[in-house]
Symmetry: C2
Subunit: 155 residues, 2 copies
């Protein structure tokens, strides 16, 4: 049992700034999408990832990895999206386990309708205020975090 290495004043300040900002950022995004497209941000991402896949189709497991979601979360989400007619699920022939989710035309239309407002919001809350250097720094910093979490959480 070692002594706790507390955060120093600088780290503390940075940590809280990050925490509040990222929280507000996510809430802004979510509110905008909820207001203008009647979907939460997580659902938007599912539609977006599907739209970029060949045949607008993907296995549930692939999709879960892409959106960094648990199998459970994705299953619940896709169930709702299917009920709205935006996604369609069917078992892959030849393998009774895997399910393939497909973006429907209605789903693609909903995504296309939501996209411009969403992108504008992303610019408003983030990119419009940052210099190109800061954008690069942001990428590097969270690249490190992502690599770290992808490996350490996987064991």
């Amino acid at each position: 049992m070692s002594e706790t290495r507390w955060l120093d004043a600088d780290e503390q300040r940075t940590w809280r700034t990050y925490l509040w900002a990222s929280q507000l950022l996510h809430e802004s995004l979510d509110r905008q999408l909820q207001r203008e497209a009647a979907m939460p941000h997580a659902y938007y991402m599912i539609l977006a990832m599907l739209s970029e896949a060949p045949g607008r189709s993907m296995t549930m497991t692939e999709l879960a990895q892409l959106v960094r979601s648990s199998a459970s979360r994705l299953s619940h989400a896709v169930a709702k999206l299917e009920a709205q007619g935006w996604v369609h699920r069917c078992k892959r022939p030849g393998d009774g386990r895997t399910t393939v989710a497909t973006l429907t035309d209605e789903g693609f239309a909903a995504l296309a309708a939501a996209a411009p407002g969403h992108v504008e919001e992303v610019r408003r809350v983030l990119f419009d205020r940052l210099t190109p250097e800061q954008v690069e720094q942001l990428h590097d910093i969270f690249g490190v975090v992502l690599a770290n979490l992808n490996t350490t959480d996987g064991c």
Copy 2:
């Protein structure tokens, strides 16, 4: 109605890296606290902010601003915390509107018990992997975002 300024490849890449990383980061934090201290991260923050206030007490509105929470969210949260005996609420004498929340000794003990593990997790997921320069960059970037959102969302 102007043309949408879509994200270019660099922005897209940065945006998704940030999104996934911040999501995983938040989930790691939340899981660790839930596992080891049986509280979500938002509740930890409420206790932490109260613990730093004079008399370990604060108005609900002040507290809400500090943790960047809606009045509703805070009210629900403090209700749970009060049921657990970690926070106590009472009306301020002389003003029947404002409620003062106070961290109890049990609440302080719970916070103290949770803190070391939480700080370690914060280090593990973030600070241990970043250079001092990156920490400073992180602070600057989200300082901008925070200032932006605090002003634009307030009107």
